[in-house]
């Protein structure tokens, strides 16, 4: 086990081009489970592959256990990686697949067998040790890939979207299994995903990347409650946070023709005459529009209702400005229908304000 440090680590594919990973700084503690998350092309996989030694570190350093990894080949880094498509050796049996890293390190046959057996026991693969990967289901292949990583007892686990090829149900169960196993083994883990649910549920801390740059590196709760900028706010949370860039008025902000009053201490943070306001879907209070608008509310018309059982999502547009869409999360079976008039009021003081130019949190 070891800590992992990205120190201004950068990767440029072609000279002069925009870096795929741009001066990334991360300090990952020993035994920590860190998730790299971001949209496609954000550089999260590249960052992981730099740590694995599959991509060059063009600038800066990556240190594992204090040792600088620049120029160190993969096989000398003492890491194990789980690939998105599992990357099992098709011509080897499950047992030989799992024993391969041990064999490459010159571990004797008896110890190999013992360790493979132990790992297969944990993963429920004992009955499949003599099969070829072709004869396994997706979930089983995924577990073989995990097993191949576990037998190594490496310093760091690297996982590159290991769940994205599983069906939805399998993904949920494997998600918890991986998280539980990581806690038990206590091995430092870096996990890449584009799925924010995986990021929020699995990681001790989550690093959100966009365009090769680190946006925020925080615990899942802080990422949700205190997004560092408008991008993080929009990326984390499903449905996404409502973000409006609005003119500032005397007592709050103007949204459409109505005025949204803001608490004084929130308002004091605004400097310019416009501001980006973020309100999560669950931070809206909904009133029926027929009962007369309450002061400070926003009138809207429902376009679509997504009923999920426990909750319902209302997708609406503002009465005054049909271009502005609003998402509202309400209790399930609220009876709202398409075309209903509703009045929305923010229920929480925890509103998010961002600078409209830079996107930074105010």
């Amino acid at each position: 086990m070891a800590d992992v440090v990205f120190d201004q680590a950068s990767r440029v594919y072609t000279a002069g081009a925009k870096p795929a990973v741009n001066r990334l700084d991360l300090e990952i503690a020993e035994g920590e489970f860190v998730v790299l998350v971001g949209p496609s092309g954000s550089g999260k996989s590249t960052a992981l592959r730099m740590l694995a030694g599959l991509e060059e570190i063009d600038d800066g350093e990556i240190r594992i256990g204090g040792r600088n990894m620049v120029g160190v080949p993969s096989r000398d880094r003492d890491i194990a990686m789980v690939f998105q498509n599992y990357a099992l050796y098709p011509n080897k049996t499950v047992g030989d697949n799992m024993a391969f890293p041990l064999k490459m390190r010159g571990v004797d046959k008896a110890t190999q067998q013992e360790k493979v057996r132990a790992a297969a026991d944990i993963l429920g693969l004992t009955d499949y040790l003599d099969r070829k990967p072709k004869a396994l289901s997706g979930g089983q292949r995924q577990r073989v890939a995990m097993g191949r990583a576990i037998v190594r007892e490496p310093q760091v686990f690297l996982m590159d979207e290991p769940l994205s090829n599983l069906d939805a149900k399998m993904r949920v169960s494997t998600r918890t299994e991986i998280a539980a196993m990581q806690r038990r083994l206590g091995v430092t883990t870096v996990y890449v995903t584009h799925d924010q649910v995986e990021a929020m549920t699995m990681g001790d801390r989550v690093a959100l990347l966009a365009d090769g740059k680190l946006q925020q590196f925080d615990t899942p709760a802080d990422l949700y409650d205190k997004p560092a900028n408008a991008f993080v706010a929009g990326f984390i949370g499903s449905p996404a946070m409502n973000l409006f860039t609005l003119p500032v008025s005397a007592e709050g902000v103007r949204i459409g023709s109505s005025e949204l009053r803001l608490p004084r201490e929130v308002q004091s943070r605004i400097s310019g005459d416009r501001v980006t306001l973020g309100i999560r879907p669950e931070q809206w209070g909904v009133a029926n529009g027929d009962g007369g608008a309450s002061a400070g509310g926003v009138k809207a018309q429902v376009d679509v209702v997504e009923e999920l059982g426990s909750d319902a999502y209302l997708y609406a547009h503002l009465d005054d400005d049909a271009q502005t869409a609003v998402v509202v999360r309400t209790a399930g079976r609220s009876g709202a229908r398409r075309g209903d008039q509703i009045v929305l009021t923010p229920t929480s003081d925890e509103l998010h304000l961002f600078d409209p130019e830079s996107g930074d949190r105010l």
């Binding site: 096989r75 890491i79 498509n85 098709p90 011509n91």
Partner: protein, 309 residues
């Protein structure tokens, strides 16, 4: 009344209407090709069997007479025939295996990125595009010739430029020319295999601690197995019939030192005019080839069936 009540309990597959007639309409356009194939391959074979039972010398008209299996007895007691059969095996196996090893080596080199890769690849493929007769002539005169040959020219500074390569090593010389022509074919096949290899498996092997040689032995070579098998079988099918290179370079000589079966049969039929004898040889070779190629084809199909998942 519900619809389900009217249906039989068991579900049977629906028969396509008039499958038989449709089938024949579809097959009919192929018939001319089938008939043509029978005329040009099966009828000559039947004639050959008929000739093989005759004693018939082309230069003595009216000499044909039925001799039963006499020709076959002569084939099996002919030590030259056995020697030529050994030549055929050595030439085919040697050329195929050497060109496969070289082709694999070139493919591994071409599988990496470097400047001018496309140009180098084209150059390496070129020998395969040259007419076999021209290639043989090229080796015989430009390279192997004792007086003008480039090989002796290059070797002369080292004091070893006097060898008449084709006279001294006739079978090896022919094999060298064949290897030169067939290496690109093997290279293309194995290169296709290398490029169809998933990158993440190679990366996984690197992370798992394998060095370059271990990756080749443990991951790449097993992946290439079916490409190599295919190359060997296809190469053997073509090279067992080699005629042009031998005809151009050595005429099978000295004696029959560099003759293979097709060339020896040609010699016996059209230079020795012994139709009965050469027909019997042809029949023996065809039967032997069928036996060998049955195993070879089985190998091909097996390697196609065990596709990896």
């Amino acid at each position: 009344m519900t619809v389900t009540e009217q249906r039989p309990a068991e579900i049977v597959p629906r028969q396509p209407a008039s499958a038989g007639r449709e089938g024949w309409i579809r097959r009919a356009p192929l018939l001319p090709a089938l008939i043509f194939t029978i005329i040009v391959t099966q009828l000559p074979f039947l004639f050959t069997i008929y000739y093989s039972l005759q004693s018939w010398n082309l230069v003595r008209p009216g000499s044909a007479q039925f001799v039963g299996l006499d020709n076959y007895v002569k084939v099996f007691t002919d030590s030259q025939f056995r020697g030529v059969a050994v030549n055929t095996v050595v030439l085919t196996a040697g050329a195929v295996l050497i060109s496969m090893v070289l082709g694999l080596a070139f493919a591994l080199l071409l599988d990496r990125q470097f400047r001018g890769r496309g140009f180098v690849r084209t150059l390496l493929i070129t020998p395969f595009l040259i007419t076999p007769v021209a290639a043989a002539l090229l080796w015989k005169t430009v390279l192997f010739d004792p007086t003008y040959g480039l090989i002796n020219f290059v070797l002369s500074p080292f004091g070893a430029g006097q060898t008449d390569w084709i006279s001294a090593f006739p079978l090896t010389s022919v094999m060298v020319a064949l290897v030169w022509q067939w290496t690109p074919f093997m290279m293309l096949l194995t290169l296709a295999g290398l490029q169809s290899q998933p990158h993440d498996v190679l990366e996984a092997a690197r992370v798992d601690g394998a060095g370059s040689f271990a990756i080749f032995r443990e991951v790449t070579l097993p992946h290439l197995r079916r490409f190599i098998e295919l190359g060997i079988v296809l190469g053997a099918i073509y090279l067992v019939n080699t005629f042009d290179a031998i005809y151009m370079m050595t005429q099978g000589g000295p004696g029959t030192a560099s003759a293979n079966l097709p060339f020896y049969i040609y010699q016996r039929a059209f230079l020795g005019f012994d139709i009965g004898q050469s027909a019997a040889m042809g029949v023996v070779v065809v039967i032997a080839t069928i036996i060998v190629s049955t195993f070879a084809l089985r190998l091909i199909f097996r390697s196609f069936q065990t596709e990896e998942g």
